[in-house]
Amino acid sequence: MSGSALFWLSTAAWACAVCGGQDDEDTRQAFIDTTIFLSLLPLGLIGGGGLWLWRRAHELEHAPHAP
């Protein structure tokens, strides 16, 4: 009962942080740019780190062994 009361008494809220910025073209473009940036950055970091580790493992594998 109280749950349904909460449902009916509640009002609309801007829960999404980006809802206010759709009118302006610059803001819209900034959202697109930062979305691309934040999507690609972790992939680039993980990929770069993984590649570095792979190359280092390859180097160690082929390095002359100490007696």
């Binding site: 910025g21 302006d24 803001t27 900034a30 740019d33 930062t34 940036f37 934040l38 970091l45």
Partner: protein, 199 residues
């Protein structure tokens, strides 16, 4: 049936296990993962800042103190030299740990200078009326620059500790590598933040 011959003894001979060295020391790998998460933290800050500045027609907002671009540019150069000295210290450490003392001392001194200079800059800006609540610009400024300053302070603390260990002859190469990695991170991150926040 015994024919008077002893049965041949079967013995499985295993080759000696090959000693595997870790690709990178644990301290370095841990620092790399930590830096990765830190990169995402600052990327989030910079992205939020980039969006916030498009929401207002004039940026920085009119009627508030200007950020000291030239003085901070000088401080940026100081931090970059500190990073270069740290790289040189790492190179010298590989030859002989004693040879790393002077460049590490220089890197440490310049890093502490950077933090002190930033502190003075903040005092001036606060006294000029640029507070955390003055505008969204100032809020982002204190958040981003302050968070980086905190990282530099922690990094400088690590450098000081490692310098003392180096003097005592107890600094191991793996810890030094991890410490240097973190220092490179704070040094190389700063020009990006300077470009985004000050310019």
């Amino acid at each position: 049936m015994d024919y008077g011959m002893s049965e041949p003894e079967l013995r499985i001979v295993h080759p000696p296990p090959r000693e595997r060295k870790p690709i990178v020391p644990n301290a370095v790998l841990g620092t790399m993962i930590f830096i990765l998460t830190e990169c995402m933290l600052f990327a989030g800050f910079v992205s939020a800042y980039a969006i916030a500045r498009t929401n207002v027609p004039v940026w920085p907002p009119a009627g508030q103190p200007r950020l000291p671009v030239e003085a901070t540019g000088f401080n940026t150069v100081v931090l970059l030299i500190s990073g270069a000295l740290m790289w040189y210290a790492g190179k010298k450490f590989a030859e002989s740990p004693d040879k790393a003392r002077m460049p590490m001392l220089g890197a440490m001194a310049l890093g502490l200078f950077f933090v002190a200079f930033q502190g003075m800059e903040w005092v001036q800006l606060l006294s000029a009326g640029l507070g955390l609540r003055t505008s969204s610009h100032s809020a982002f400024f204190y958040l981003i620059v302050g968070m980086h300053g905190l990282h530099v302070l922690c990094g400088a603390g690590v450098v000081v500790r490692q310098f003392l260990q180096l003097r005592a002859g107890t600094l191991d190469a793996e810890s030094f590598w991890a410490g240097r990695l973190f220092w490179y991170f704070v040094v190389l991150l700063w020009p990006v933040l300077y470009w985004q926040v000050y310019l």
